[in-house]
């Protein structure tokens, strides 16, 4: 049983007549509870692969299954709904909504999903922030937070709808060693319970070593699985 499965996934861009292939014929199975690190040289197609696995971009060929469902026939609206309920993203830059406080940023995916009532959502947001040691920062806007704090708020927000898979693109790229290690510990903790899956793109070999599994991408292909 796999939570995420890629089969022959290829992404080709056509720009002004010449086509660029970012990702070639990727086959990948990821089981629930796995902590996967995607590594590879710059420009090898790690980010592109992550966007495809996260249903943010559509493959030119191949299929991606999430939770046993083939996502290739889904339209943009249905894919958004899947992202909302089952996936959580963390990017290198903090990517929080600047007008909203840390607490409100965590609330936004829950409010959009609308699965919980107001008090439950607020309790959950508070719990998530507490879990990431952010309780004192709950009422602050992103501009008032440090880089590490912002990244942890982004992780809390990615966790808001209790997703099946967390996808992170160089989440520690902007952080110092301590904060970076901290983020990786959080990921390790999340996957520890055995149900939640984390896929992290990183070029930090030390950190990648902490992941349960490494996928090395070279030139758009998986080199060592």
């Amino acid at each position: 049983m796999f939570v995420l499965r890629a089969e022959g996934v290829t992404k080709t861009l056509n720009e002004g007549g010449n086509s660029v292939t970012l990702v070639r014929e990727i086959d990948l199975d990821i089981a629930p509870g796995e902590f996967v690190a995607i590594t590879g040289p710059s420009g090898s197609g790690k980010s592109s692969l992550l966007y495809l696995l996260g249903l943010l971009d559509a493959p030119s060929a191949g299929r991606i299954w999430l939770d046993g469902v083939d996502t290739s026939p889904l339209d943009s609206g249905a894919l958004a709904a899947v992202r909302l309920a089952k996936l959580g993203f963390v990017f290198q830059f903090h990517f929080l909504l600047p007008e909203f406080t840390a607490f409100e940023n965590v609330m936004i995916p829950m409010r959009r999903l609308g699965a919980l009532d107001g008090p439950t959502m607020r309790t959950r947001a508070g719990d998530l922030l507490a879990e990431l040691d952010l309780t004192p920062e709950a009422g602050k806007r992103p501009g008032q937070l440090s880089g590490g704090q912002r990244q942890r708020v982004a992780i809390a927000r990615a966790l808001a709808n209790d997703p099946r898979v967390i996808l992170a693109d160089e989440p520690t790229g902007n952080l110092d060693t301590t904060n970076a290690r901290n983020v990786f510990e959080i990921f390790a903790r999340l996957t520890g319970s055995g149900d939640r899956t984390v896929i992290v793109v990183t070029h930090d070999v030390d950190l990648a070593a902490r992941a349960g599994r490494r996928v090395h991408v070279v030139d758009g292909r998986i080199a060592v699985a």
Binding site: S47, Y51, G54, L56, D57, S76, G77, A80, A81, V82, R83, L84, A85, L87, F89, F91, Q92, F93, F95, L96, L97, P98, E99, F100, I108, P109, R111, R112, L113, G114, R157, N161, D169, E170
Partner: protein, 414 residues
């Protein structure tokens, strides 16, 4: 959805000054529309009410819409030779069998009719000559057809009956001549007849064309003055239901052949001006709102440009293209709604301001200030228009925002 609304609001709050300017633009358009519509529509309905009140609803004239066929043409309808310089036969003008016609018309029900003889005259008082129109009436019948009696400033319509050669003048005409009650002036007709007439009344209807040009005398005196014994050249009619004027006029014209005009046709020049007036108002106020629409377009384009990153975040969180579109459309609608609300207040204030201005004006009708139509219909009309404009102005930027591909943005930012 509340969360979409909150995001929309946060975006607008982020650009406070631009939002306020956009809202102000919509408010101006809405406010001016309400005030101008109150003024225009107020004046127009006042004019129409006046005209309906003062003048007959339908007038039958001793004219024909098309020149009658000449005997030569009637005899040879498909003649190969065309005669030029054909002069029509002299005809005795006037409505034939006017009395019988009046009786027939009144028997139709819902119509009161009165015979008149209208003709040009010159009134002379001292050294002043003023041209006008003499309307010969039968007071008993006339009062069922027009409200001239209630518009008398001095004197009475009955005065015509009790004085040998009585004349009732419009206030404007009287002041041009410089005559007052009981003065005697000379009336000179194109037929060359001169009558000394005594002023027995002055009226003021408020309709300038009547007050400045019309004089009334007994039908008999007019016939003498114009040297047209027993001739009646107009039948003036009043309907119980003024809305039937056009239909009635058409029916009577079809039946009797004489040109018969409803009040709309008689005042078609003024009503035509109203149409142009309205077109000018709607297009100029519409232009303000269109400019306001550009303001909305502008602010949304700016917001979207600044917020591409946020759009990508929202999309990665699982917001759909439709959600993004709705967020920006909502911003347009918020600006439209706030602008409309503010514009209603502004429009109300402007209308009250106009109402407080007092002046004397003599246009088509005489007024002592703006006649205002404070109908709530204008408020709704402009609100709908403003919201449609706001929605359209927001639509293009919103669609562009929805079409942004999150991957491109995230790549660009990373």
């Amino acid at each position: 959805m509340r969360v979409l609304f909150d995001i929309a609001l946060a975006h607008l709050a982020n650009r406070k000054r631009q939002s306020v300017v956009s809202i102000g633009g919509v408010a101006m358009g809405v406010g001016f529309f309400i005030a101008m519509a109150a003024m225009m529509s107020g004046f127009q309905s006042y004019f129409i009410a006046k005209v309906i009140d003062v003048s007959p609803h339908v007038v039958m004239k001793d004219e024909f819409r098309r020149a009658p066929l000449q005997p030569i043409n009637r005899t040879y309808p498909n003649a190969a030779v065309f005669l030029q310089g054909l002069r029509p036969l002299d005809e005795l003008r006037g409505i034939r069998e006017a009395r019988a016609t009046i009786e027939q018309i009144e028997n139709m029900g819902g119509i009161a009719a009165a015979p008149t003889l209208r003709g040009p005259i010159i009134l002379r008082y001292g050294s002043k000559d003023v041209s006008g129109t003499m309307v010969g009436i039968e007071p008993a019948r006339e009062r069922r057809v027009t409200n001239i009696e209630s518009d008398m400033v001095t004197g009475k319509l009955e005065g015509l009956l009790s004085t040998a050669n009585g004349i009732v003048l419009g206030a404007g005409l009287a002041s041009k001549l410089g005559v007052g009650m009981n003065d005697t002036l000379s009336a000179i007709s194109p037929a060359g007849i001169v009558l000394a007439m005594k002023v027995v009344g002055i009226f003021s209807t408020g309709v300038t064309t009547i007050d400045n040009f019309e004089a009334y005398s007994l039908l008999k005196k007019s016939q003498i003055l114009q040297n047209r014994a027993n001739v009646v050249n107009q039948l003036r009619m009043r309907l119980d239901d003024v809305k039937l004027a056009r239909l009635t006029a058409d029916a009577l014209e079809a039946r009797y052949g004489y040109r018969t005009e409803s009040w709309e046709e008689a005042n078609s020049n003024v009503l035509g001006i109203f149409v142009i007036q309205n077109a000018i108002m709607y297009s100029s106020v519409g232009a303000i709102l269109v400019v306001a629409g550009f303001g909305i377009f502008n602010i949304l384009s700016t917001v979207i440009y600044e917020k591409t990153r946020d759009i990508a975040i929202l999309r990665s969180l699982g917001f759909s293209e439709g959600d993004v579109r709705r967020i920006f459309l909502t911003q347009g609608v918020i600006v439209g709604l706030l602008g409309t609300a503010l514009g209603w207040v502004l429009g109300f204030a402007l209308t009250e301001l106009l109402a407080s201005i007092k002046f004397n004006m003599e246009g088509f009708v005489k007024t002592e200030g703006f006649v205002l139509d404070r109908s709530f219909r204008h408020y709704w009309l402009v609100a709908i228009f403003a919201l449609v404009i706001s929605g359209l102005a927001a639509f293009l930027p919103a669609r562009r925002a929805a079409r942004l591909r999150p991957v491109d943005i995230i790549r660009g930012a990373a």
